[in-house]
């Protein structure tokens, strides 16, 4: 075990081989967010009378109570009622945003949080929540900007600093990531994810000694825990060292309780050409965590590859029932419906996916294809044109390898 870890540390210290984009993608799936949202302070917006003010206060307290008890449906109902009654305060908008965030409705969260920000532009917590909403949408650039805004007014906001560091890490901006992570060393010194990102960032910046020191601490802090084995397994997986990744991921799955352990073992099995075993691991992951959208998606992709579109549809319908606001699952379900010639159903779910993420060109492409199959040529053309324009407007640098090659060539 020690040899394996040291070997792993050595690999990370070699720096530029580490496929950052893949690590980011892996990490992106597992970062657990500490969403310490502030509770709304009931504050009426010019109520007409004492009785109404009391009523508003009561509803706000009821909503806050429901939010604290994770009863999101009740909380949403209360906050919406307050808005209908004319109480347009920052705390109501903000807490409704938190409800949307926690129920995975990120666009709706952004919408109300922007309203909260307009009412109370100086409140740092609202900007942190906005950053979180963008973070959960994987728009790390926008998220980093909001976390930065929050830090401008409140530099000691550790949550904002940590999350901006994660965004920087995801965006390959390792210098900025280290700058944000380093001040947190005391507070986060036992957080394995944090140490993993900091150590990797040092490695990328060729700060070998710092990288080795950080990974040594990660191994000490992780002990023989499944979490450490998961991180090591993921790292080996990213490096393409499947023979070393497998035992680590097997250790991570012991106890069958750690989310993503079976998922990554499934990824490994899939990448090494064992789709049946991969499918079994994805199913185990779903049994442990029915909200893991990636497990549903990858399991369905295996069935689609096997030309078993009906099985894929069944998996995805279950996934969508568990995670109704996930555009990736809806879009894959649309694709699976198309394979089973259920064109109208495909159109329906693809429209839902686009309503949630209108900026994704491939969803418009799939909808265009669904229209085409349904014989609705004009609508197909319109969607394809949209897909085309969205692809054309995609930011430069999506092929990260290109800019990396450029840098390497220049420094060679």
């Amino acid at each position: 075990m020690a040899t394996a870890v040291l070997h792993f540390i050595f690999q990370l210290s070699t720096g530029d081989l580490f496929p950052a984009a893949f690590v980011r993608a892996l990490l992106c799936l597992t970062v657990l967010l500490g969403t310490n949202f502030s509770q709304a302070q009931p504050r009426s917006a010019a109520p007409e009378g004492q009785t109404k003010q009391l009523e508003l206060k009561e509803i706000a307290e009821h909503g806050n109570h429901a939010l604290a008890a994770s009863d999101y449906a009740t909380a949403e109902q209360d906050y919406k009622r307050l808005l209908r009654l004319g109480m347009r305060s920052a705390s109501v908008y903000s807490n409704l945003g938190v409800v949307y965030l926690r129920t995975g409705r990120f666009d709706q969260a952004i919408n109300v949080l922007l309203k909260a920000k307009n009412v109370a532009p100086s409140v740092a917590g609202i900007r942190v929540n906005l950053g979180l909403a963008y973070f959960r949408k994987h728009d790390f650039k926008a998220a980093a900007s909001y976390f930065g805004n929050a830090l401008d007014s409140k530099p000691d906001n550790l949550q904002a600093r940590y999350l901006r560091g994660v965004c920087d890490f995801m965006l390959d901006n390792f210098t900025a990531a280290v700058k944000d992570f380093e001040p947190l060393q005391t507070d986060e010194s036992n957080d394995l994810e944090y140490l993993f990102m900091l150590g990797t960032s040092y490695g990328m910046l060729k700060r070998t000694d710092d990288s080795l020191r950080t990974f040594k601490r990660m191994v000490e802090a992780g002990g023989d825990s499944p979490h450490l084995h998961l991180l090591l397994g993921k790292a080996y997986l990213a490096l393409g060292q499947y023979d070393k990744a497998e035992p680590e991921l097997n250790r991570a799955t012991k106890g069958d309780s750690l989310p993503f352990a079976h998922y990554y073992l499934g990824v490994l099995k899939g990448q090494t050409g064992h789709p049946d075993e991969a499918a079994m691991e994805y199913q185990k992951e779903i049994d442990i965590d029915p909200t893991n959208i990636f497990a549903y998606k990858d399991l369905a992709e295996i069935r689609l590859d096997e030309a078993d579109a009906d099985a894929a549809v069944a998996i995805l319908e279950k996934g969508v029932a568990q995670n109704p606001h996930t555009p990736e699952l809806l879009a894959t379900l649309g694709r699976a419906y198309l394979r089973t010639s259920r064109h109208e159903r495909a159109i329906l779910v693809l429209r839902k996916a686009i309503a949630l993420s209108p900026e994704v060109g491939s969803y418009h492409y799939q909808l265009g294809r669904a229209y085409l199959k349904a014989g609705r040529r004009a609508e197909a053309n319109a969607e394809m044109a949209l897909a085309r324009s969205l692809t054309s407007e995609a930011p430069e640098g999506k092929m990260g390898a290109l800019s990396k090659d450029q840098e390497i060539i220049e420094t060679r």
Partner: protein, 403 residues
Amino acid sequence: MTGLGQSYKVIVERTFLCLIAVGSLTRVLAQERCIRSHVQHNRPKAVPISLSTPDRLADMPWWPTKGTPAREEYVGTKVCETCHRMKVASQALTEMAKASTRSPDPAVLDALPALTFRQGFFTYEIERQGDAVLASVTDGDSSVARPLLFAFGKGIVGHTYIYRADGKFYESHVSYYSAIRGLDLTTGHLQSAVPSLEQTLGRLLQPQEVQKCFGCHTTAATTSNHFEPDQSFAGVTCEACHQPGAKHVQAMMAGQIERGKRLIFNPARLDPAESVDFCGACHRTLGDVIQMDVTGVPTVRFQPFRLEESHCWIRSMGKLTCLTCHDPHKPLAQDASSYDHICIQCHSQPGDHKQQIHPILQCKVGRRECVNCHMPKVEIPGMHHAFVDHSIRIQKDVGYFPN
């Protein structure tokens, strides 16, 4: 009698009026039909819709890289040659036919300087050992050498080598580049030192990835949905595009000519979008690029996608396909002026545009070697080669690469 006479008169009058009305109506309808026909004639048809290769593979009975037919269904070029001698001979000279070579020809190495490349502590070498070609890497203390299985690439840009170790396929970490007559890092591989020599020599290819590589660089590497590259034909051969030919040959030999014709796939009969997507099965379609969400300079290698981004494609409603300029049975014409007549077909006389679907501009600068200006070459960093950008355009800003 008077009553009857009057009635008769009325009937005649009404009949006469009716005839006039019918005549007028017929004339109006004819005019309308004429107008509608004119409008229809001038109205642009729908823009062809490009689909992704996985969608084409799922929808079409035959499509390049399809791995469903059995090995026995393939006959090989020697059999095709018996009837299509000229076509096969000409196709053998194309770049596609040379998309791969099984076990690189050792004689080629004799004509080159020593192929070595140094990176950090490691020295790479592609060397001849008897009849085999080996790729090796050493860190000074120990070394690893593997016999090369395939060389991918037609040699204009260079070659990337494929080898096998422990039943797994690897892509060599270094490639041969024609422009520098030497080795450099393989495109997409990051420059770094890695701990194991095996990993330093090459990158492990994942099963799906290696299947795709062989799918486009060889013929029949995947049959009956099983990947078996040892039984493949090197390069893109007849059956990579026209589908496996055993049934076609059988019917033709039995004198069932019409049936035989139906048993071979003729890509020339595809509609414009299908035709460009057909080439895009390996060269990438617009649908593929949308699904991949890739932008920027690397897309210059995806010629069908770049063509489908061109005004010439969009505004001509697919009149211009890959086949307009390229004959897949003949080597690629390298002389820029050899394409002029195709451009001139549309961009000819100033007055001609009135006859066309859309106004076509005549070039104010020149009438020769159009592609040199309107299809500029773009170099992908690290590839030591400039690729012709198939996004045909008026260059307003030299060096600008439209996404």
